[in-house]
Symmetry: C2
C-alpha cells in the first residue's frame, strides 16, 4: 500500500510517494513534470549500486536520455559534504554528452549527504535545475529529503553553504531500508521521536506500540511510520518554507545536539545519537522551567532507550557545549534560541536561555 503526501507550497508544491518498490516509479513520476528529455542520476559510492541503477533504468524506460554520476564517500560521507564535491559534480554534469540544458532533471539517490549535495548542485547549476529526491536511509526519508534545504559544510561549520531549493518529487522506497545498518536506522528514529514530541502525541503512541516491528523494519509499519513523519515535516515546511518561524520547531533537540556533535567530533557520534541527547537535555530544561512534568520527559527518554539510542554521554563538558551553541548558525544577533516542549505534541521557541540551565541539563545527561 503506497502512500502519497503533498507538500503544499503553491507553485512549488510536490508529492512524496512512500511504499515498496518506489524507486521504479521514477520514470513515471518525472514524465509527469513535462518538458524533460534528459535526466542525470547522482549517487555516492557508499550507496548500494542497485538503487541508482534502478532509478536510471526507470528513467530510461520513460524515454529519457540518462547518465549516472557517482561521488566518493571516503573517508566518510559527511567529510565529503563540501564545495570540493560540489565542484566535482558540476564538472561531471557539464561534461555530460549531450550537454545538459535547463530542462534536465537530476535524481539524488542515497542518504542525507547525497540529497543535500545533489539538491545544492541542482540549485546552482544553470541557476536552478529540477530534481527529485530518492532517499535510501530512514533519516533522509523522514527528514532531509523533504523541505528544500540543500547545502554543504564549510570548515567553519555544518551546512554553512547552501540554498533553499525544493525537489519536484520525493520517492521513498521502503525496500531500501532493509539493507540499512542498525545504527543508520536509529539515526532516523531519533528524528521520528522528535516529530512526535513537537507535533503529534499519537505518533509517540504509535512508535511505542510498534517499536519491535520498527526495529526489524517490517514493511507495512515502516510505510505507516514514514508517511506519518513526512506528513508532519510537510505541514511544518508548508507553514514556513524559509524557517522564519515555526519551521525552527524542527530544531528541537538540535541546538544542544549540534553542539555535542561539534564538541566531540562529527566522526565520533551519529547525528541521531546527538539529537537524542539534545532532546533529553531540552526536556530536562523544560521540566526545570515547569513547562512539562517529569513523567512526560521520562516517557521520551525511555522510548529513545528502547529504540537503542543512548540517553547519557559520560564526561560531556557543559561549558564546551555552551561555547559551541554560540557558534550555531541559527543563533541570531548572538542570541541563543532553543525549542522546548510545552505540552504533549507542543513546543515553543525560547530566547532567554541561560548558561546555568544548559549546565544543569548537560549534567543530567552526562
Amino acid at each position: 500500500m503506497a502512500r502519497t503526501i503533498t507538500v503544499d507550497l503553491g507553485a512549488r508544491s510536490y508529492e512524496i510517494l512512500v511504499g515498496a518498490g518506489m524507486l521504479d516509479a521514477a520514470g513515471r513520476t518525472v514524465s509527469e513534470f513535462g518538458a524533460a528529455r534528459q535526466a542525470v542520476v547522482i549517487s555516492a559510492e557508499d550507496v548500494p549500486a542497485e538503487y541508482p541503477l534502478r532509478v536510471l533504468e526507470a528513467l530510461k524506460g520513460a524515454g529519457l536520455i540518462t547518465e549516472a554520476i557517482s561521488f566518493s564517500s571516503r573517508p566518510t560521507s559527511e567529510a565529503v559534504k563540501n564545495l570540493k564535491t560540489v565542484n566535482y559534480l558540476l564538472d561531471s554534469l557539464f561534461d555530460v554528452d549531450p550537454p545538459v540544458d535547463r530542462s534536465c532533471i537530476l535524481a539524488a539517490v542515497g542518504g542525507g549527504v547525497v540529497g543535500d549535495v545533489v539538491g545544492f548542485v541542482a540549485a546552482i547549476a544553470l541557476r536552478g535545475l529540477r530534481f527529485i529526491q530518492c532517499p535510501t536511509t530512514l533519516l533522509a526519508a523522514v527528514d532531509s529529503s523533504v523541505g528544500g534545504k540543500t547545502g554543504v559544510n564549510h570548515p567553519s561549520g555544518k551546512n554553512l553553504i547552501g540554498a533553499f531549493h525544493q525537489p519536484r518529487a520525493v520517492l521513498i522506497d521502503t525496500d531500501t531500508l532493509k539493507t540499512l545498518p542498525a545504527e543508520e536506522l536509529r539515526n532516523g528514529l531519533a528524528e521520528c521521536v522528535k516529530h512526535a514530541v513537537i507535533r503529534d502525541e499519537k505518533l509517540l503512541d504509535f512508535i511505542e506500540s510498534h517499536a519491535r516491528a520498527i526495529l526489524s523494519c517490517k514493511a507495512d509499519v515502516m510505510t505507516e511510520l514514514i508517511a506519518r513523519n513526512v506528513a508532519i515535516k510537510a505541514a511544518v515546511v508548508a507553514d514556513d518554507e524559509r524557517e522564519s518561524g515555526v519551521r525552527s520547531h524542527l530544531n528541537f533537540g538540535h541546538t544542544i545536539g549540534h553542539a555535542v556533535e561539534a564538541l566531540v567530533g562529527y566522526d565520533k557520534i551519529t547525528h541521531g545519537q546527538a539529537v537524542a541527547l539534545g532532546m533529553v537535555a531540552a526536556n530536562h530544561m523544560a521540566v526545570a522551567r515547569g513547562l512539562i512534568d517529569a513523567p512526560a520527559a521520562e516517557r521520551v527518554t525511555k522510548l529513545l532507550e528502547r529504540l537503542g539510542l543512548s540517553v547519557r554521554m559520560k564526561g560531556l563538558d557543559a561549558d564546551g557545549v555552551w561555547r559551541m551553541m554560540q557558534h550555531d548558525k541559527k543563533a541570531s544577533a548572538g542570541q541563543i534560541r532553543m525549542v522546548l516542549p510545552t505540552g504533549a505534541g507542543e513546543v515553543d521557541i525560547f530566547a532567554d536561555i541561560a548558561i546555568e540551565e544548559v549546565r544543569a541539563a548537560v549534567a543530567a545527561i552526562s
Copy 2:
C-alpha cells in the same frame, strides 16, 4: 537630482537609487531594512579603493559592525569569476569576527563581476544573506546589478553556476562613472541601446540626441540615461523574474554576441562590443525576414558606431558562431531561440532559426 525606481517583485521588491554621491547613502539604506547589526563590504582589487571605503564608512556611520573583503582581479576580472573566488570569499566571510549570522548584510561594490560573484556568495552563504548592489560601471548599473541573476563561470561556459537572488537595494552613484575607461563606458552603452530597441523608441531618440554628453559622462544626462534604463530592466524583471518568458527579450543581441565572445575568446573582445555585433546581426536577420525595414536596422547600426562600438568584425567564422550558439545554456532541448525586433521598441522570440540566416547575418557583420 537623485532618482528612485522600484523593482516590483512582491515581498522581494526593492529600490534602485540613482544619483551623484549615492555610495554615501548605503548606511541610511541598510538601516531601513531592519534587524541588521553587521555588514561586510566586498569589492575587487581593480575597483578604485575609494568606493568600497565610502560604502564602509557609510555603514559604520549607521552603527553597523563592518568588515571589508577584496578579491584579486588578476589576470582579468572575468578570469576570476569562478568557484575558486567564491570559495575564497566564503572562507573570508566565515573568518570575520564576530562571526556573521543570518542578519548580516553584504555590499557588492564594483563592476558586473563583483556584483555577480558577491550576489552568488550572498545566495549561498547561510542559505541566503541580504545584499545590496553598488555598481561602479555603466554596464553593471544598467544591466547586471538589477534583476537578481547571480553566478560565476565554469570552464564549460559563462554563468553556468549561479542562482536567482534579488538584492535588497541598488545604489548607483553617477560620480563613479567619471573614472571609467572609455571602453568600459561603451560596454554599458551597448546595453542601453539594447533596452531602447526592445522596449522604448524614445530612449533611442534620447541617446541619439545626447550622444556627445553621454560620451563625456555629463552628470544630469547620465542620471537620466541610467534611470530610464533601469526602469526598463526593472519592468521586464517584474514581469518575469525567472526568465520563463519576456525576460529573455533582454537577450537581444546576446545569442550571437555570446557565440562571438566564446569563439574569439573572452579576453579578446569586450561584452559590449560582442553585444553590439550581435544586435547588428540580429537586425540583419529581422530585415531579411521582413520583420523590420532596412532604415530601422541602419539607425541602430549608425548609433552604435557613433557611440564608438564596431559594427563589423573581420574574418568571423559563421559556422563557428553557429556551433557556439548550440552550446548556449539558454538553448532548450537543443533548440536555438533568438530575440528579433518586430517594430520600433518591440521584439519577439523566434525558435525557428536556420543555419542559413545565421550565416548570412554573420557575413553581413564580417
